[in-house]
Symmetry: C2
Subunit: 204 residues, 2 copies
C-alpha cells in the first residue's frame, strides 16, 4: 500500500512548496508586505488551498522560522571553528551579527516581530531556536565554569551577551539608532566594534 505514503509525501511536498515560496518572499520583501494571497499566487494555487496545509498564517510562519533557525545554526557551524572557547565566543558573537545583516528580514521574523509567538505561548516549547541558543549557552557555560568571564552564572552570561548584540541589531533594523546621528554607512562597522569591545570587556 504505497498510496497513503505517497499522499503523505505529496502533503509534505506541498508544505515545502508553500514554505519555500514564503521564505523567498519574506527575504525579498519583508514579513509585512507578504500576504497569503501573494504566496498562493507565487505557487499558483488558490489562497484557500494554503489553509488545507496550514491552519493559519502563524502556523506557516512557525515553519518559516524553523527554516530560518536552521540557517542560523548552519551559519554558526561554519563560522565558529576555533578550539579556544574565548575565541569561539567572539566568533559566535560576530557570526550572529553578520547573520542579522545578511538576512535582515529573516532576523526580523525570528527575533523581532510579534507573530507567531502568540501561538507558541501554549506550546511552551518553541523548539525552533533551541539549537542556535544551545550554541551560545554551551560556550558561555564553559566560559563561566572556567572563570574566563566576569559573570555570576551561565544564564546571566548567556542572556547578557545575547541581549547586548540583539539590542544593537534591533535598534538598528528599526532605525531607532538613527537618533545618535552616526554615519549610516559606518554603522555596521561601528556596531561590530561595539560587539568586539563588549566581548573584551566581559573577559575576566
Amino acid at each position: 500500500m504505497g498510496i497513503t505514503e505517497r499522499k503523505e509525501r505529496e502533503k509534505a511536498e506541498m508544505r515545502r512548496r508553500i514554505v519555500d515560496a514564503a521564505i523567498d518572499m519574506f527575504v525579498a520583501e519583508g514579513y509585512e508586505k507578504v500576504s497569503i494571497r501573494n504566496i498562493a499566487d507565487k505557487i499558483e494555487y488558490s489562497p484557500a488551498t494554503i489553509y488545507l496545509y496550514y491552519k493559519d498564517k502563524d502556523e506557516l510562519l512557525y515553519d518559516v522560522q524553523a527554516e530560518a533557525f536552521g540557517k542560523l545554526a548552519a551559519y554558526f557551524k561554519a563560522k565558529v571553528t576555533a578550539a579556544d572557547v574565548l575565541e569561539r565566543l567572539e566568533q559566535l558573537a560576530l557570526a550572529y551579527f553578520d547573520f542579522s545583516q545578511e538576512y535582515q528580514e529573516l532576523y526580523d521574523l525570528m527575533f523581532i516581530i510579534k507573530a507567531p509567538m502568540n501561538t507558541v505561548e501554549e506550546d511552551e516549547e518553541w523548539k525552533n531556536g533551541l539549537e542556535a541558543f544551545s550554541y551560545l549557552r554551551d560556550i558561555m557555560t564553559e566560559c563561566v565554569e572556567k572563570k574566563l568571564v566576569r559573570f555570576p552564572d551561565p544564564m546571566t552570561a548567556t542572556l547578557s551577551i545575547w541581549a547586548f548584540i540583539h539590542g544593537f541589531i534591533s535598534l538598528n533594523l528599526r532605525c531607532r539608532i538613527k537618533i545618535a546621528q552616526l554615519d549610516v554607512l559606518a554603522l555596521p562597522a561601528f556596531v561590530r566594534s561595539c560587539v568586539k569591545h563588549y566581548v573584551e570587556t566581559i573577559k575576566a
Copy 2:
C-alpha cells in the same frame, strides 16, 4: 480677527482628542489591535475625519510617539535624582527598564515596531526621542570623560548600555527569552539584576 486663531485652536484641540484617544487605546490594547476606525468610534467622529487632521496612520503614530517620549523624559526627571554621575547612570538604567515594564505597549511603539520610522526616514530628524536620549548621552559622556567607565568613547558607551537594556526588554516583550526556560514570574527581577550587573561591569 479672532476667527483664524479660534480655527487654529480648534484644529489643535481636535488633534489632541485624536492623539489622546489613540494613546489610551494603544496602552489598553496594543498598537496592532487599534484601527483608525476604532479611534474614530471612540471620539465619535467618522474615520474620514481623522484624515483631515493626519495625512496617514504613521503621522498620527508620530504624535503618539512624541507623547510617549514625553512620558519617558518625565520618568527620567523623577527617578534620576542622584548627584553622583555613576549613581545617576544606575538610576537611569533602572528607570528605563521600569518604564518599559509599566508602559509595555508604549515601549513597543516607541522602540520596536516598524512604523512610523518609514515616514521619518526622510525627515532625518526624529526629534521625538532626543530629550530622553540626551539624558543618557550626557551621563555617559561625563562618565567617559572622568574615566569612570571602561569605554573608548562616549558614543560607544551610550549605545552599548542602551543596546544592552533594550535587548533584554525586547527579547522579553517578544517572548524570545522564553527559550531560556526561566521562571516567568522571576524574569523581571532577573533582568533587573542583569542590568545592575552590567552597570557594575562597565565601571572602571
